[in-house]
Symmetry: none
């Protein structure tokens, strides 16, 4: 048994988790909270509602961590077995605590309901353990010790778990963090590959470094995660700030955001700063570009109007794209993308206009115009142009639409950057 570490292990209990019907978000939440107390999480373990499996998991984690946080299995039904499994591990019996039953009964009474008989089991506790009040539901939590490890069992209902952790468990385990504080932050980039980003910051990504730096890719956005451990919250925050600044220096204009992976956020800020307005003309993205631009509160200050012109007739009628231009080059062409953007800008009276036309698939591809071929037009005070993107036929329709929206937002972001990042696309 490791008695000197301050590691946390998290156990999530429930068949709905091991069968995959529910994605466990409790473990991630608890990890973040524990880290803020200076207590790093070593492992998450998920097991089903099985008394032996739960006991086995508790033993496994107690061997490796100073603190074991358990969620789930405290409800009133036959498959709520955390109480019994904890008693098994500690080697004690369950005992009935009448005053705790009174609290469960009061919970129902306050809601003008009668307590079902089966809730009686929620007043059963391993001998020697402490009850933790549940202010948001019926199931009390359990605080127990096994060897040198402190064990806390909480309900699986996220709201009840969160209230209980913050109110009753965090104050108890905080001293184990030794005043240390771990803060995390993520710097988001667009326009480079994960390995390209990794190469540019390889020396910052040393293992066991503090701050610890790593990359993650999700839907073409590469995030650079920073985990800083400081002697105080201020010290950790300073390390985060310093690393962010270094990343900005190294990675340049591909960096677009911090702790928010939405490309529309910097676009909204740049538009608002400069007092510029934008409108959109979409074909294959079908409104998602406008949706992303208006995802930001206060977007009415810069977003004038958007048009989804799916049919060729709508492209002509709404945006004024000449029918013969479509006939000659096809709807998916740089010519039509430019004409859509230019026409949209004029009709909306906006400073900028973005257009998207492409083949989102899975049907509709052709040898010369394959699925994933997208043109993005950008019209502005200095004229209009279109760029070609090839997102690849291995992507799904939803992915091609997502990439197209991001590429369009990024075009406008770079155009609006004070240093005009538009002209230096290849950075990393």
């Amino acid at each position: 048994v490791n008695t000197t570490n301050t590691h946390v292990a998290i156990i999530s209990i429930g068949a709905e988790l091991t069968t995959g019907q529910t994605v466990d978000a409790n473990a991630a939440w608890l990890s973040r909270r524990a880290a803020e107390l200076g207590l790093p999480t070593d492992r998450h373990l998920t097991v089903s509602d099985d008394r032996r499996a739960i006991a086995d998991a508790v033993r496994n984690c107690a061997d490796r961590a100073a603190i074991v946080l358990i969620t789930g299995g405290l409800g009133p039904t036959a498959d709520d077995l955390t109480r019994a499994a904890l008693a098994d591990v500690i080697g004690v019996e369950l005992e009935y605590r009448p005053h705790l039953l009174a609290r469960v009964e009061a919970f129902f009474k306050a809601r003008r309901k009668t307590m079902p008989e089966r809730n009686r089991v929620q007043a059963m506790f391993p001998v020697g353990s402490d009850a933790i009040e549940n202010t948001a539901g019926t199931a009390p939590g359990i605080a127990a010790r096994f060897s040198h490890t402190r064990i806390f069992a909480m309900p699986g209902v996220p709201r009840e778990m969160r209230v209980m952790f913050d109110r009753d468990i965090a104050p108890v385990i905080r001293p184990l963090g030794g005043g240390q504080c771990i803060l995390t932050s993520t710097v988001y980039t667009f326009g480079a590959t994960e390995s390209g980003v990794g190469q540019a910051i390889a020396d910052l990504m040393a293992r066991d470094a503090n701050p610890l730096v790593g990359t993650t890719a999700a839907d073409a956005v590469i995030g650079v995660r920073i985990i800083a451990r400081g002697e105080s919250p201020d010290a950790a925050a300073a390390m985060i700030a310093e690393t962010r600044a270094e990343l900005a220096r190294r990675l340049g204009p591909i960096v677009f955001g911090v702790d928010d992976s939405r490309l529309a956020v910097p676009v909204a800020a740049l538009l608002t700063e400069s007092g510029a307005t934008v409108s959109t003309a979409e074909s294959c993205t079908g409104g998602l570009l406008a949706g992303a631009l208006t995802d930001i509160s206060g977007s009415s200050a810069y977003f004038l109007e958007g048009h989804v012109t799916y049919s060729n007739a709508a492209k002509s009628a709404v945006l004024g794209v000449p029918a013969d231009l479509i006939d000659r080059h096809g709807a998916v062409s740089p010519h039509v993308a430019e004409s859509m953007a230019a026409g949209c800008r004029v009709r909306a009276g906006s400073a900028y206009a973005l257009s998207v036309t492409g083949v989102a698939g899975p049907t509709g591809g052709a040898p010369d115009k394959p699925v994933g071929l997208v043109y993005i037009g950008l019209a502005g005070p200095n004229g209009v142009d279109a760029r070609e993107y090839r997102f690849g036929e291995h992507l799904t329709r939803a992915e091609i639409r997502d990439r197209s929206v991001k590429a369009a937002l990024d075009r406008l972001r770079r155009r609006l950057m004070p240093t005009n990042g538009d002209n230096r696309d290849r950075v990393v």
Copy 2:
């Protein structure tokens, strides 16, 4: 070592998971897929990018499961340690396989990029293991054996992991399922509360029943999950079909889909069946309604055009909403919603037109027009009307926009239903 069980253990690797920066959805997905092969999952274990922790997790899981599925840690960077940890567990060296490097190089070449030097490590494999082709990314997977356990390591990128599992791993482990089959299906409803649905089907939700029935709520869509275990795929499929039919009888028109939670799916089917077309006029949803309607491949058959008219000027210029109507009733009013829908229908020449105008917040609310107040207009061959929705001030901007899109889609769905479900909203 247990040599007779057919249990699966799943290991997710990544500091972004143990620190709580990312919620692990891979484990849930793999559990569902394994169950469909008759292979129940025993545990999920998540550890950070630490060679010893990964090796410890693999040993722990190999002791308890016949199949260990690993995701993550196969990338090209220094914190990708799954290859090394697997070699440690098996007790072999890593060897370089030039022909696999050629594949990684080809992946970059197809995208007109040069392979970064660091990707070379993706051609390193534990001696005696097999490479699994990655058709969606650069990192090949690894198939290995340790004692009696079969181990499969996949990339952590969900898309790459899913393709690799379905294409190369499922066929290999299927025989271990012994012909048993666990199938899952979810019936989706809109327009009722979770407890309302639960009450209507309480007798179907008995514990240990087969099929096992339960409810989950996500973003106002209530899903009814069915898990059926049969002696054959056909037997399990028959149980699923029977339960689905019973749910449809009990729940009526609130049921809108099976295994696809997108309300646009039945709308697209109903429009296509009847040969009808639709157009959209959006204010607070800013293009997301058009985005949802065009999320379905082949949507050009029924979707004519969409307009995002955020400003009052755009509402008048694009949709012909009389300026004095906006002056008298405000942009968020049933009158403007009706006028937007009617104007959109005329300009697009579509059979139906949907309009949305509301206060998505968090700013812009007023005592008489609070955040969450939304009007949805529907124009069709028999005229136009608008309905009022109050989504509540406790919802976020994104949630209010999401609920508005769903309510609009559901209005059209019910209008298009052969029995005209539009007139019987309160079912459960």
